[in-house]
């Protein structure tokens, strides 16, 4: 039904390449999150699916049909805008009904569907209000209602939660996932918020500077980031990255980095041997402050978050290293010299030149 395929899609604004040869295949019924920092081209990609931006190269197909030259109104997709983009002069009921009217549905059918959607999203008490009389959360639900009432091939959501406060965002996040799951409608969801991406997506596509970095299910992306960008972008805080070189002696293989060494398991050592110079990645939770640790560092900042603390250290060459500490542990002083222990199983290796993950050929 609603399969969505990007094939070599490119979009330029003047000299800037907003989206660079994007290939992406969103399966029918899947919720795929386009994740990336501001200006990475994710919204442009979404707008091209909606038909609000023209493609410079490549094709976009919805349900097997190339839609490059199809008008937005004929694409059978629904979009939820970051600003909600409700019709301010129409009541909530009329807003939700708007796309149905354009499709020429009869009055009775329209009324039935609007009521149904209003019940689903808890909007019945507000049907006769204008958007200006609603709270942010209510407007957001009206925007969702207007999208789902259509029963389209696909939903396009452009940071729909970014204007909500934190508590409401968590709630609505879960609601959207449940709704999408129940409706089974293909959804392309754009966000810069990795927590949203991790919790909502069946898969996540990470974009940077218009280039697709990696597409994978959330946990895969976290466990096996395909390159240093993904490694550093995902996770809060992101993965620590250090320049290093392989050293092998009787004691075993290690990666020599500024301030000491990082232990390597046998299979990682084998990968490193083939690669030459390395970028060594370690997540903050695979690090610990330990007098027997193999890295020397000095403490720059300690961020206490309640349940945990982030100890931000500096290696001799200035590289920052974030160590995640559980509550109740000894908190070091600023400027204190500490030793950091690295869990060998938590080490990721990337090629220093291209930033790609080093992996055994499958």
């Amino acid at each position: 039904m609603g399969r969505l395929v990007f094939d070599g899609v490119t979009k330029r604004f003047g000299d800037v390449v907003a989206v660079d040869h994007l290939d992406l295949d969103v399966a029918d019924g899947e919720l795929l999150v386009l994740l990336g920092p501001s200006g990475c081209g994710k919204t442009t990609a979404l707008r091209m699916v909606a038909g609000l931006e023209a493609l410079d190269e490549g094709t976009i197909a919805i349900d097997g049909q190339v839609v490059n030259d199809v008008e937005p109104k004929d694409r059978d997709i629904a979009m939820v805008f970051q600003t909600y983009a409700l019709y301010p002069h129409l009541t909530v009921a009329r807003n939700i009904e708007f796309p149905l009217r354009q499709r020429g549905l009869d009055r009775e059918e329209r009324g039935r569907r609007v009521r149904e959607v209003a019940v689903t999203l808890g909007l019945e008490p507000y049907l006769n209000r204008k958007p200006g009389q609603l709270s942010g959360g209510q407007r957001q639900r009206v925007a969702l209602a207007r999208a789902i009432v259509r029963q389209p091939q696909a939903f396009l959501m452009d940071e729909p939660l970014s204007n909500l406060d934190a508590a409401l965002r968590v709630q609505t996040r879960a609601d959207i996932v449940a709704l999408q799951d129940r409706l089974g409608t293909t959804t392309l969801y754009v966000t810069h918020d990795q927590v949203e991406a991790m919790t909502m997506g069946d898969r996540i596509a990470v974009l940077s500077a218009g280039v697709l970095q990696q597409v994978a299910p959330p946990q895969d992306l976290y466990d096996r980031p395909g390159n240093t960008f993904v490694a550093g972008f995902l996770g809060s805080p992101g993965m620590n990255l250090m320049g290093g070189a392989l050293v092998e002696d009787q004691a075993g293989a290690t990666a020599r980095v500024s301030g000491g060494s990082v232990p390597l398991t046998a299979d990682r050592a084998a990968l490193a041997r083939a690669a030459g110079s390395l970028t060594v990645g370690v997540r903050p939770e695979a690090l610990a402050l330990d007098p027997a640790g193999t890295l020397e560092a000095s403490v720059v900042i300690v961020e206490a978050l309640g349940a945990e603390a982030h100890v931000i250290c500096k290696l001799p060459d200035g590289t920052r290293l974030v160590v995640r500490q559980e509550a109740g542990r000894h908190r070091p002083q600023l400027g204190e010299a500490v030793r950091v222990a690295v869990e060998a199983s938590g080490v990721h290796l990337f090629g220093a030149a291209d930033g790609r993950r080093l992996e055994a050929a499958a």
């Binding site: 609000l52 008008e71 629904a78 979009m79 805008f81 970051q82 019709y87 002069h89 259509r150």
Partner: protein
């Protein structure tokens, strides 16, 4: 912040003293504007009411006599005034819808991102800065029965357009509309540019055709602008004077048929030398404009959408 603290500490007496001082300063700053308005607007306005109570005798050099409201009734029920009123209404009906629609149309066209569109924007808005006298002369030549554009187009009624009792008023209205297009275009363009882009995009994605989205989304969202333009257009139409004076004038055979209120006031005062009568009519014009504006504000504003 500092002012707030001071106010909180000051007692009620000191606070009042301060308020008086501040009000005094305010009026002092207003004084230059008050003087100008007083001399050129407020005093003539008040004087006009007094004039309306005095009847000018039919022969020159006789003193005018106080007749109270008698003259008001007389003038307002005279056929001269009523005919003039009908002409005015007709003139307004010619100008307002056409002026608004053409301005809106041009603004929509000029919204498109096309190469060289800026030049068109300048052209469309240029009538605002064109002097009435100059453009009236241009139209006068265009409508000239011998060398003008109209005979060239095969339109040459007899008597000529500007002396023709049927065509004189529409001809002046055409020019008045043309002159108003610039203002209308600027107001509409400003309104269109302020519309929320994403709402219009939402309409596209929601399946609305260009036509539907224009009438169902753009026009309602633009309604505050349309409303403002309507008020401006009405006032403009009621006050069009220069075009009539230059294109037609008092000597013209068709004069009676273009004698809108504002022109009637002028001719009554200048040619008939009857200030009493002119004063009554100008009060009537003032009252009509006031009532219309208030009505529009009351009725229309309630139906106009203001986006929040």
């Amino acid at each position: 912040m500092i002012r707030g603290v001071e106010l909180a500490e000051a007692g009620p007496v000191r606070r009042r003293a301060r308020r008086v001082r501040e009000a005094g300063l305010g009026y002092l700053l207003l004084l230059p504007a008050l003087c100008v308005f007083g001399v050129f607007v407020f005093y003539p306005f008040a004087r006009n009411f007094k004039l309306a109570l005095y009847q000018t005798p039919p022969y020159p050099n006789l003193p005018s006599t106080y007749v109270g409201l008698h003259q008001v009734g007389q003038v307002l029920s005279s056929s001269n005034f009523l005919e003039s009123l009908v002409t005015t209404v007709l003139f307004v009906v010619f100008i307002v819808p056409a002026g608004l629609l053409i301005g809106l149309f041009l603004a929509v066209v000029a919204q498109r991102q096309l190469r060289g569109i800026a030049a068109y924007r300048v052209i469309f808005s240029s009538t605002v800065v064109t002097s009435v006298a100059v453009s009236a002369l241009v139209f006068y030549s265009l409508m000239n029965p011998v060398v003008g554009l109209l005979p060239w187009l095969g339109i040459s009624p007899h008597p000529s357009v500007l002396e023709n009792t049927t065509w004189a008023l529409p001809a002046v209205a055409v020019m008045a509309v043309w002159q108003f297009i610039g203002m209308s275009f600027i107001i509409m363009s400003a309104g269109l540019q302020a519309l929320p882009e994403d709402v219009l995009e939402a309409a596209k994605v929601d399946g609305a055709s260009t036509w539907t989205s224009f009438w169902r989304v753009t026009v309602p969202l633009l309604s505050p602008t349309l409303f403002f333009a309507l008020v401006v257009a009405m006032i403009y139409a009621f006050q069009t004077f220069g075009q009539i004076d230059i294109l037609i004038g008092y000597q013209n055979a068709a004069y009676e048929h273009v004698n809108v209120l504002i022109y009637n006031i002028y001719t009554t005062l200048v040619y008939e030398e009857n200030p009493g009568r002119a004063a009554v009519m100008s009060i009537a014009l003032f009252a009509i404009t006031l009532v219309l504006t208030v009505l529009q504000l009351r009725i229309l504003e309630r139906r106009v959408h203001y986006g929040r």
